[in-house]
Subunit: 194 residues, 4 copies
């Protein structure tokens, strides 16, 4: 029994995810989702009570997947600088993807739902990433790949730059060139010291 209903739940979440990517968060109505899913008005309410609930779940799944991806794709013996470059490349891709990402929806959602820091998914994702980057830098310094006196500060700086780029991409627009030069600048700070 749970199986089938779980499938529909998945269908709803996947469909809703696409809609949120297209339209952001605030513009999405229960009706939008109902129609896109091809289910009845009442049917949707069996699974979720609001677009808010749906988006929260979409976001939760998104975060889970991210964790998986992160821990998966990276070779054990890769050089720190390579891993960092890889990470930045991923971020770049997401920053430049205009439509197919949840950035706008996520911003809109969190503008409206001030979440306690503790439970704030965005915050924990951010902190997690900071930790990973910091560790990469430390490793890199040990290997002589990087030069850095304040790995934590540098990691945070990188993350805030990325956040700034992400936001800017959806407000002022941003070119690949701009992203490249920003990321380059950040990497040079790590490498280019004599």
């Amino acid at each position: 029994m749970g199986e089938k209903s779980n499938q529909k739940r998945q269908l709803i979440l996947e469909t809703a995810r696409k809609i949120f990517m297209e339209k952001g968060y605030k513009n999405v109505t229960m009706k939008d989702i109902v129609e896109a899913c091809g289910i009845s008005r009442g049917g949707l309410y069996l699974y979720f009570n609001s677009t808010r609930d749906i988006f929260a779940e979409v976001l939760r799944l998104e975060s889970q997947e991210m964790d998986d991806v992160f821990s998966a794709g990276v070779p054990e013996d890769a050089a720190a600088s390579d891993i960092l470059a890889l990470f930045l490349k991923e971020q770049k891709k997401e920053i430049l993807r205009k439509k197919s990402n949840l950035t706008v929806a996520t911003y809109e959602y969190f503008f409206e739902n001030k979440v306690a820091k503790k439970d704030n998914l965005l915050r924990s994702r951010f902190e997690e990433a900071v930790t990973v980057i910091e560790k990469l830098i430390v490793d890199g310094v040990e290997n002589g790949e990087f030069y850095c006196e304040d790995p934590l500060g540098c990691a945070r700086n990188i993350m805030y730059v990325l956040e700034g780029l992400k936001a800017s991409a959806h407000t002022m627009g941003i070119t690949e060139k701009t992203v490249d030069s920003e990321l380059l600048y950040v990497m040079q700070g790590l490498v280019a010291e004599e």
Copy 2:
């Protein structure tokens, strides 16, 4: 046209500005504005056709004032590092002001109204600030206050960090301490080289 009608226009814009600061952009209705202004429904439409128009105008005025303030408050002979510090202090204040700023409304507005780069107010404000900061850095380097090999890159980096902080403040929340350490990190990059 007349003086009087211009006064009402100002009233609307000032009132709307406050509302946008409180509620963001998407949550504001024509009704909200009408009621806050104490004018008639139809009356509002004589001046503006939508919250979008109103916000666009609020934003335009905001930008004008900013320019004025920038060029005004700074002493002629101040040291580059002092001016930069002053600028960052202002930014910090705005980042930490939770309610009384237009950040959220602005984001929401631009999420919804992808403006061509040319006419994008946010973009031009950003570029302008980059230019100013770059010039400060160049001055600072000449004076021996700063050490920096890529003033433009550094200026951009600073601006993106600020953007990231601004965004983060409204999504994940941010403490004064965090802002301080970010800004410190940025300044140290300019000063702390031997």
Copy 3:
């Protein structure tokens, strides 16, 4: 300006009153009223926010009118027994009117909206009637029309009987004969003592 809008308010209240008489309180929807009035959905909300508000107002007006009627129709020099008989006749008429009265709606309304005793219209109407009847009895006793040792108790008894008849009329049904014999019984208690 207020004139016209006041007319519509009256129209709504009168129309709603009829509907409440037909369908009771709980069965009436905003849609019912909108359609009966021939106005738009949103239009109704300009005047009232809920059927509850509308009914409360209908009831308030009803009570006002009652007061007026009471004080109006009675000749100055009428005998107490005649006035009482007149009052009971009115009550009888209302009890037997199956459809065109607000009894059911009123019950349903007060079942749902437990009103503080002080502000309870029903209660004040009841008390008022008790007072009037008591005074009639006292007058009647003085004139030798009535014999009664406890005018207040008797007045209350009459009112509770009437309430019981009113309720019964809408739950078990009641015949004119039954009402007559009840009222007769009550009157005889006042007159038939040697």
Copy 4:
């Protein structure tokens, strides 16, 4: 049919009874009952087709029990006035019980379902009670406990007063003192003649 299915029927009725006592008749949905019973939506429909059917049955059982109770609790040789006092005391208790009684639900049900007099449970319960009271009065008169020229009229009067009190309790609110003085008044009419 089977034992088991009969048990479930009982469960439904008992559960629904509690809900009706809490929420009246019109506010109760099939969903409420399903959830309170812990059975499936479809399951409920195997036994009853509507809240109306369920309430009708609840009421039928209620009446049966009443009969049982009535005939049970009364000692054979009790004085008429004692039995009547006992009866009134029971009624008083029910009138003052604010929540745990079916009065409101019953009113709401009969407002909506005008039942032919013949089949009207309320009516037959009422008539039955009248008969019992009348008989008590007759007995009392024979014993010299009571003085009464119209036992039937008096019995009816008592019942309508009780009905009036019951209704008032749920619309205007009523205090124990009020009930007491009403019942006292009624009893005095029987006793207090010289």
